[in-house]
């Protein structure tokens, strides 16, 4: 195995040959996605009108607090809400197919093969009764017409590629034999064994040791590049976003409140919630020992979403908008003066920049 990449591609390369020049056209396009769950207490609007595009080979970060609708969005893309009480509307275009209108059979053919997920907690995400290798082979076998021996070979090559030492022996181990970091590597192998074009990483490093987090992210990034897969990285860790992503969607209360490129979000953030996130992020690259500023208040109830701007109960700047509009009028997601940077906020753009430069930036 001189070239691990060759070993990884192996037989699968015949099934799917990555196009030589990745065009910049978005191949995943989510339009006005809503996921609502009817419950006894009322309608839970877990995701309420979110739109974004993912370009081939790019990495999109979705950030937000717990319960902001990040994971629900990713599961909607996989069509995993079928069979539950969830009500979905909007469109999810994958190439020329609307996944929300696709049949379960069509979705099944895409799951694992074209769109794969790395889940948050690999211990509970893997079946405790089956060998790690068998679980990865299973994903390979269901999408490729190959023998068990070939699937095993592809799996071992993939385990080797994700950095698991002695992969042929580890193939026979159960998930509980693996350490947390190794388990997440195996999870990545499981997601990538069919060389999907879209990889959804749902908080892939949350349950891991900090020292392992960076390795796992690096590995994921490398592999996505190697296989020409686009990545949606769901996280609440802005540091991870800054290091990894090309563009970012900030979610709050089931809505997108700001989106743009990583540079736009980190150097010219315009939404008070994004400011709050940046202010509460610990940083090691600053000498000043400033205290972290938490965002006051609690995330909103998804049953009784605040009237007006969804962030208004926690926003420190609602008095900057005349006429109490923050509490009465729902702001639209509007493009700022920079292209591709969209913000959902009533504060005038010039004033937003002024607040950020004068009040937020000095304390970051």
């Amino acid at each position: 195995m001189s070239d691990p990449r060759e070993a990884t591609l192996g037989t699968a390369a015949i099934e799917f040959i990555p196009e030589s020049a990745p065009d910049a056209k978005a191949f995943l396009s989510v339009r006005d996605l809503r996921v609502h769950f009817p419950t006894d207490d009322g309608l839970v609007k877990a995701v309420d009108g979110i739109s974004f595009d993912v370009e081939r080979g790019s990495i999109l970060g979705i950030v937000g607090e717990s319960g902001s609708g990040k994971s629900v969005t990713s599961q909607a893309i996989l069509g995993l809400h079928t069979g539950t009480s969830a009500k979905l509307s909007g469109e999810i275009w994958f190439d020329d197919k609307n996944l929300l209108a696709a049949s379960e059979k069509e979705l099944r053919a895409l799951r694992g093969a074209e769109i794969a997920v790395i889940f948050q907690d690999p211990l509970s995400a893997m079946h405790p009764y089956y060998k790690v290798g068998a679980q990865i082979s299973e994903a390979y076998l269901v999408h490729n017409k190959v023998s068990h021996a070939e699937a095993r070979k592809a799996t071992i090559a993939m385990l080797d590629r994700v950095g698991i030492p002695n992969p042929a022996a580890r193939y026979e181990d159960y998930p509980h034999h693996f350490s947390g970091g190794m388990r997440q590597r195996a999870m990545i192998a499981m997601a990538l064994v069919c060389q999907p074009r879209l990889l959804i990483a749902d908080e892939p490093t949350t349950s891991l040791d900090v020292t392992v987090q960076a390795q796992i992210l690096e590995l994921m990034k490398d592999l996505a590049k190697e296989l020409d897969s686009a990545v949606i990285l769901i996280t609440h860790d802005l540091g991870v976003v800054a290091e990894t992503c090309d563009s970012v969607v900030v979610m709050y209360g089931g809505q997108c409140v700001e989106k743009g490129s990583v540079d736009q979000l980190f150097y010219e953030p315009e939404m008070p919630y994004t400011w709050g996130l940046l202010g509460s992020m610990p940083r090691l690259d600053r000498t000043r020992q400033a205290r972290l500023t938490p965002i006051a208040g609690q995330p909103p109830s998804l049953i009784q979403v605040p009237k007006g701007c969804v962030f208004n109960p926690r926003c420190r700047y609602i008095d900057r908008v005349p006429g109490n509009r923050c509490k009465t009028e729902h702001p639209e997601l509007v493009e700022t003066t920079t292209k591709g940077h969209e913000v959902r906020c009533h504060i005038r753009p010039a004033e937003r920049r002024q607040i950020f430069d004068n009040e937020i930036l000095p304390s970051l």
Binding site: R108, G112, F119, D121, M126
Partner: protein, 337 residues
């Protein structure tokens, strides 16, 4: 895995030993503590007057003249080595391993009585358990996959009803309708499987159904609850995310995990049933261990009571052992902890 089995075997042996001590203390020692000679219960007739030569001879023969610990040892060792049992008035029996005593009431060695009764109890318990396991798991799985559906609601009301009806009601009703009213089955008595399989089957069908009825309902509810819980697990989401067909997700990933706790309960239920199907045996006139124990209690036939108790306890210990081993086979995490 082998070390695991050896450990469990040793554990089972210890439990069997404890059972032997408890059985000895309860049945052999209890009458002594109340200043009564237990000899009466052994020889099945009025013993000679206390203090007479014959009485002392009997006491010596049954070991009651020894200190307590020696009495236990005497009783235990008598199970393993051949000896002659006499009631002091001419009736004697030679007893070989496993010597559980001799019933002077029934003029039969206890082991013979148990060997006659055990196949009946085994047939009843095993046959019924297969019925309820298949039926209960099937209903429970379908219900658990679609909680709140019509099937689920009807099924759960049905199982609640089935759990609530006792066997001494379902049994006679079944007999009345199936045998006497509709005459679908002949009124036959038990025949050993090895001698007449057809009659064995005909005689066992109704007892199986009656016994399985309540258990099936219980297992349906258990399976449903486990299935619902398992289908919400992260690894099920992973299985779906891999693009596996629904049947694979449900059976290979869901059912296997959902059934694990049921396997344990099943083995223990089966083990318990072998000595405790008293009502079913009575209703259907089957002479199994349950019937034997009731008979021997009624006639104060102490050797038989002790023998049945020990055999039933060993059956339960064995069932537990099998449950443990099966658990380890199913769940790889158990093997190493």
């Amino acid at each position: 895995m082998i070390r695991f089995i050896i450990r469990r075997l040793l554990g089972a042996a210890v439990v069997v030993w404890i059972v032997s001590v408890v059985t000895f203390v309860i049945f052999q020692l209890a009458p002594t503590l109340s200043h009564q000679s237990p000899i009466y219960y052994y020889i099945a007739k009025q013993p000679p007057p206390v203090g007479s030569v014959q009485f002392k001879e009997l006491e010596h023969a049954f070991g009651f003249d020894r200190p307590l610990f020696q009495q236990y040892w005497f009783w235990l060792s008598n199970i393993f080595h051949s000896h002659t049992i006499s009631n002091g008035t001419g009736e004697t029996s030679s007893c070989h391993f496993p010597c559980l005593g001799y019933s002077f009431k029934l003029h039969t060695p206890v082991s013979t009585l148990i060997w006659q009764a055990l196949p009946v109890s085994l047939s009843l318990a095993v046959g019924a358990s297969i019925l309820w396991l298949v039926g209960g798991v099937l209903v429970g799985t379908i219900s658990g996959l679609r909680p709140g559906s019509l099937f689920d609601r009807v099924g759960m009301i049905g199982t609640l009803t089935a759990v609530s009806i006792p066997i001494f009601f379902t049994g006679p009703i079944l007999l009345l309708l199936v045998v006497y009213q509709w005459k679908w089955l002949p009124d036959v008595s038990y025949a050993p499987l090895t001698k007449d399989p057809a009659q064995w089957l005909r005689s066992m069908i109704l007892p199986w159904i009656a016994l399985a009825f309540a258990f099936a309902a219980l297992y349906a509810r258990l399976t449903r609850a486990n299935m619902m819980e398992t289908m919400g697990e992260d690894f099920i989401r992973t299985a779906r995310a891999k693009g596996l067909p629904r049947r694979t997700v449900v059976v290979k990933h869901g059912l296997r995990a959902a059934l694990t706790p049921i396997v344990t309960i099943f083995a223990i239920d089966l083990g318990t049933l072998i000595g405790s199907t008293v009502i079913t045996e009575t209703v259907f006139n089957l002479r199994g261990l349950g019937w034997l124990s009731i008979q021997s209690i009624r006639t104060k036939d102490l050797p038989v009571i002790m023998g049945v108790t020990i055999v039933a306890a060993i059956a339960l210990v064995l069932a537990n052992l099998i449950a443990d081993i099966m658990y380890a086979v199913i769940d790889p995490r158990v093997r190493f902890s």
